[in-house]
């Protein structure tokens, strides 16, 4: 009995802390979002905060922006990451293993850089007084630096999208590349003798093989960017702002009365994240067709 329960008891301090902080915080947030807030004398339950959100145009603008930024970030980083992984795979297959290894390390570099630093890099490169605008102006491509498009702190969210695309593309390639490397080396030979050129090999063999892990990687990026805070906070505009920033601003607005709404946003975000997680799970189960690897 002792032997059986010993590992669980040893894990208890860690799991207890996680449960208390994570689920405790979530539960506290749920209570407060439903109006139970003894600090301001509210002890009843209501869905007022959710109703307010439903009727708030700024919430819907923020939700729209959040979806747009998360969708474009994940798609762009997914495409970039996929192209990176396939390029590395083809480089490796062409017999240039050393070159593939080196490029793999170079492409992984953005993974080591914190998101906040990544955001600053985008600011320095893409703002109107940034490196690229000056470079374009000196090359004569634009007349003045103010002609450079507004890509940072713009209402569309391009700055945020660029940052996440740059940061997460290596993550996608990191998820996909090992799957591609499991492709039997002789499959290329087999496909070639049956008439497949490089393009057809990628389309018929490499893409179907990488698609399940690529989709999951892109979903992970989507879920992450959907609720991420620091980059939208740094590179976003005042209105509309992403849901995480909107929630933070409501929470720190100075009046405790706004807090239930702020927490309701967080719970909506959490709920949507869980739904997205279930979608990922559904597809990962459905696309688990890579049986028979040798």
């Amino acid at each position: 009995m002792w032997q059986k329960s010993k590992p669980y008891l040893l894990l208890l301090p860690a799991t207890g802390t996680i449960v208390l902080l994570f689920f405790g915080g979530l539960f506290d947030g749920l209570l407060k979002s439903m109006g139970y807030f003894p600090a301001i004398g509210e002890v009843g339950f209501s869905f007022d905060a959710y109703t307010d959100l439903w009727n708030s145009s700024s919430f819907w603008s923020s939700l729209g922006l959040t979806f747009r930024v998360a969708f474009l970030s994940s798609i762009i980083s997914g495409l970039l990451g996929g192209v990176l992984a396939i390029s590395l795979f083809m480089l490796h297959n062409s017999g240039k293993n050393k070159g593939a290894g080196l490029w793999h390390r170079v492409f992984q570099l953005p993974l080591t850089i914190p998101h906040l630093v990544g955001a600053y890099v985008i600011v320095l490169l893409f703002m109107q007084s940034g490196l690229f605008s000056k470079l374009f102006a000196s090359m004569g491509l634009i007349d003045t630096i103010s002609d450079f498009p507004v890509l940072v702190n713009d209402p569309f969210g391009w700055g945020i999208i660029l940052t996440y695309a740059w940061k997460e593309a290596p993550f996608v390639s990191l998820m996909v590349y090992p799957v591609l490397m499991r492709i039997h080396g002789s499959w290329r030979d087999a496909s070639r003798v049956f008439g497949a050129n490089n393009r057809q090999f990628i389309r018929e063999i490499a893409l179907p093989v990488m698609m399940p892990s690529w989709t999951i990687a892109v979903f992970i990026v989507f879920v992450f960017t959907f609720s991420a805070f620091e980059v939208p906070f740094l590179l976003g505009v005042t209105y509309p702002n992403m849901l995480s920033v909107h929630s933070y601003q409501l929470y720190t607005s100075g009046t405790l009365a706004d807090r239930p709404e702020a927490l309701a946003i967080n719970l909506v975000l959490s709920g949507l994240t869980v739904i997205l997680g279930l979608i990922v799970y559904y597809f990962s189960k459905r696309w688990n067709v890579l049986k028979g690897w040798q």
Partner: protein, 358 residues
């Protein structure tokens, strides 16, 4: 005639620091495979037969020499444009495709419409005994079934030449036998030209119209199975084909005398003089007993039995004659009469003798 011709093909792999193996090269290979022929490259592991096959497929580029198909020079043609097919040692089926899609892969690359290619693939799968397996995935098949799919995939593409790289070596003996029969039957039905690589003598002899024997990057001899076995051009080939009776001696004044003087015989007119190896097939050498009438012109050798062996239906006696251990095949009745140490006389006919220089 659309024949596959390898003309003065050479390929060298250098010894490198990373690859600590010895340098290896194919040396000036000339080979012609006729249309509709089943040709086998036979040789031990590492002799260069797979390299030669890959050169024919275009998966490797030769250092020098040409690959011809009919009057077309294919040397610079990439493998995807040669319209050859290949069956590898492993089935190499694509796991995300069904059996039918795997089989139809070559046709898809040839831009054959979906309906037509799937019909052809299913017909070919029926031909290799996989009726009804169309919608399964490769991991739902046994090793033998997977190799059948690989064979169907190669055949359905209607290749100009089918290249096969030891396709049955990973299968168990029963299955291998079954696959050989299937391949032999299909090759006769379709008349496809096959270049087959194997290190299995039985496989090569059972299936091939002609065989090329390779060793150390050289093509030693090409011919029909019986020709190679009965008339090997060197001791190397004889030894590879399992002939152990190879006796060094000298020919002079119309007689062959073995180095130890134990075996002497008259030789045919015209046999060149000098140091020679006498090659005697085990079935050409017989033990003389009361039941066998020894021909008058037979060559007789005295010796004693070292041991009697039984191997897959054949009895063999090892007879010590001088310094030589001669292997001779026995009839069933003979094996029961012989025992180790027994003095015997073995004989062979002049026409079964083969002399080679090296």
């Amino acid at each position: 005639m659309k024949e596959l011709r390898l003309d003065q093909i050479e390929k060298t792999y250098s010894k490198t620091a990373a690859n600590k193996t010895e340098s290896f090269g194919l040396r000036s290979i000339d080979l012609t495979i006729r249309e509709g022929e089943f040709f086998s490259l036979l040789g031990p592991s590492g002799c260069g037969k797979t390299t030669l096959l890959k050169l024919a497929a275009g998966l490797l580029e030769p250092d020098s020499g040409k690959v011809w198909y009919g009057n077309s020079d294919l040397t610079a043609t990439p493998p995807e444009a040669r319209r050859f097919s290949m069956v590898f040692q492993q089935p190499l089926l694509f796991p995300h495709m069904t059996v039918a899609d795997n089989t139809a892969f070559g046709l898809k690359m040839q831009k054959v419409g979906k309906k037509e290619r799937l019909e052809k693939a299913e017909a070919m799968l029926d031909g290799v005994g996989l009726k009804g397996f169309y919608h399964r995935f490769p991991d739902e098949l046994s090793g033998g079934q997977q190799q059948r799919v690989a064979l169907a995939r190669a055949l359905v593409a209607n290749p100009r030449v089918l290249l096969m790289d030891e396709p049955f070596s990973a299968l168990d003996p029963g299955l291998r036998e079954e696959m050989r029969e299937l391949l032999g039957r299909i090759q006769k039905e379709l008349g496809v030209t096959i270049l087959f690589v194997t290190h299995d003598r039985d496989e090569a002899f059972e299936l091939s119209d002609r065989i090329g024997i390779m060793r150390d990057g050289r093509l030693l001899q090409v011919g029909a199975g019986t020709e190679l076995y009965e008339k090997p051009v060197s001791t190397e080939i004889a030894a590879f084909l399992g002939i152990k009776n190879i006796i060094l001696g000298n020919i002079g004044e119309g007689r062959f005398v073995s180095a130890d003087g134990a075996i002497t015989m008259d030789v045919k007119n015209g046999e060149p003089e000098g140091e020679r190896f006498l090659i005697l097939r085990p079935e050409a050498l017989q033990v003389a007993d009361g039941n066998i009438q020894v021909p008058g012109d037979a060559i007789r050798i005295k010796g004693h039995v070292l041991k009697v062996k039984f191997l897959q239906g054949f009895y063999t006696a090892i007879v010590q004659a001088g310094n030589h251990e001669l292997e001779c095949q026995l009839f069933r009745g003979q094996s029961e009469q012989l025992e180790a140490g027994q003095q015997v006389e073995v004989f062979f006919s002049q026409c079964d003798v083969r002399f080679v220089m090296e």
